[in-house]
Amino acid sequence: MTYAVEMLNITKDFPGIRANDNVTVKVEKGTIHALLGENGAGKSTLMSILFGLYQPTSGTIRINEKEVNITDPNVATALGIGMVHQHFKLIECFTVTENIILGMEPTKHGMVDTKSAAAKIKELSELYGLNVEPNSLISDISVGMQQRVEILKMLYRNADILIFDEPTAVLTPQEIEDLMEIMKRLVKEGKSILLITHKLKEIKAVADKCSVLRRGKYIGTVDVKDTDEEKMAEMMVGREVSFTVDKKDAKPGDVVLQIRNLNVKNSKGVLGVKDFSLDVRAGEVVGLAGIDGNGQSELVFALTGMSPIESGQILLDGEDITHKSIKERCNLGMGHIPEDRHKHGLILDFPLKENFIIHEYNEAPFCKNMILQEKEIDKNAEVLIEEFDVRSGEGKDSLTRSMSGGNQQKAIVAREIHRSPKLLIVVQPTRGLDVGAIEYIHKRIIEERDKGKAILMVSLELDEVLDVSDRIAVIFDGCLNGVMDAKATNENELGLLMSGSLRKDGAACEQ
């Protein structure tokens, strides 16, 4: 048995914090090795060390059984290490080929030889079943395809050791399945893969071994086939984790949100939401299930006032809010955890404490006579950070941009739930979070429900929809395709409804 990567007794200190404490990870050649840990457990630091972005404080690294000193990413590349980052590093207006050869362009008579490069890329793409068209523009291809371009970039540079940093965070369920197949294909061809993730299901599906980190410390390595998700979750979090949401039956009250025959155009100018009607009552969670791109975003944008509607009506507590502004809806008791945390949810260049007051910055107690009340702002931030366990380098004064994705998400959830609005519209609330944080956020959503708030939750994760919701509405091609009792349905039935293979009465539109 030979090892492709051996990171032995790695310790990395940053000022005031030990990010990795005596961590040992050994990856066998031709296997998929998962690296599991909560947000901020030190996975990224460890991989940055392997990729030459950081130098370890102590410890040794061996690649293909030889001790190496990886001083910068160029050394890593020369050693055959490649990394697919969570946020792709592609140029939108370049073609696939141009992106892949960037930095090592083959030339012929002093000119860039894209033709032969494209041929080589096509060949690689076929070998690994990637199906990438070398001459497409990046801006024209889907996120899943873009990720494959990143994979090709590594393969083109002859990488044998591939690091995937949370590769499924941005993918749709179908794309995730495809990626799993691709990864299996890659190891079959002799590559070794290090998979950073906190999704246990995916580890179970593809990985051979799994090493677990917790708060910088190495907990252990397990054979994936000999373990189960519960066991791995326990290793990661340090206590037993419940995967099912513990909740009592809902006691639905009055209708809080009424959506009546709503039609909304999408960015391409055609109807993205068609004749959509749905009620959400106080004290219940209605989950909206659907395959990505079936009108969920358009619906949420229309409900929250972020984009105009074509026709229809939206009522909040009986009051017509169809033409009210975002602010007015907010003041009437609507909360919104947006899908895109960077674009909408946060002002990344603000310190954390300023992000917490974005809805109430000009109201007492945060503002008196137009002057910001810094003491109140600080106090509010301390309460939210404590209550929701938002972790960051400098607490309330941390630049939001510098925080990890999971903690950014927790900050938004904290802000919106803390206001306790009577209608909470929640989109992908746990995207990118580890199981511990997911458990907590689900618990808080149920608590809001039990306080008598109405909750509309949009999620692409079927498990989440099934676990948290009391009723489940399915959206397919912009239309409502059935509303089910969460206890009386299952993944299979939902899958059929989501894909349109099964039509429920009340599915108002025909193709």
């Binding site: 000009n362 503002c367 002057i371």
Partner: protein, 364 residues
Amino acid sequence: MNSKKDTLLISLLAVFIGILLGVVILIASGHSPMILFNALLRGTFGINLTMGTGLNLRYLGEFIVFSMPIILTGLSVGFAYRTGLFNIGAEGQVMVGGMASVVVAIMVPLPGVLHVIACVAAGALAGALWGFIPGLLKSKFNVHEVVVCIMLNYTGMYFSNWVVRALPGSTESKTAMIPASASLNSDFLSGLTGNSRLNWGILIVIASVLLYWFIIEKTSFGYSLRATGFNKEGARYAGLKVDRNIITSMMISGAFAGLAGTIVALGVFNQGRTLAAFENYGFDGIAVGLVGACNAIGIVLAGLLFGMLKVAQPIMQIAGVPKQIGEIISSSIVLFVAMQYGIKIIIGRIAKRRLEKKEGSVSQ
């Protein structure tokens, strides 16, 4: 981390490297490098190394007079920038501001100190109006503010020239002198600085700097402007009035620039002038705003640096350095200050390498 102290050190280092390059250029073009130091010291404080004369307060006063309007245009550009807008129209706003102040000075007789207050207000308002137009077009029709601002610079210049010529008592090139009640001249400040042209405009500058800091950092209004500037979509999601913020921000930005025109007209020339070309107060303001990192103290320091370079140039010219070389030197200093970020990276790398060497020697 000592980030504030680091920033200051890096700024000083940048100025130092810039001056060093100036010295190299002077030597390469066959001049004594002392000319540069002499010009900077003499222009700013009146200290003449070769003649051995000491501090001359008149030079200090003139240096401040040169810095005042570009600090104001720096505030103008910085304010818009904090809201995510690029106000390249400060030039035009300066001219209409100066013109409006002179119009009120000559046409609206008011008693006592009311007169000068009305003139200053007119300058700020005219600048604000000149900023309102691109702000409105941007928020309502999504016309890029840079295009509108550039066009309004020309409109501002020719419109101001036309108004100035139409005033009673004007010649082709200038208006009559404004009445004393409208002037910002100060015998007190002038006397204090050896009869320089230092005037009450300095109070306007100080008040503007404080107001800038206060609005941006301390008020809820500043909060909403900063949010809009950093992330327009995020601000919209939170229900902030993004369109209104764009307009108000451009108006406040324009008002700062208008005041720059006011203090030049009422404090330095005491009359309105027609201009054949831009005087570059607005364009200097862009560099001052950006070099000053769009924060109040930074803009004051950057404005003073620009003022220093401005007063040093003619002195270098007298010492036989061609105007062009003088300008190359000033520009290099500005360039290095603007490259602070790059300098920071280089310093970071050197520090890292040194640390590694040290660690390496320890482990061996």
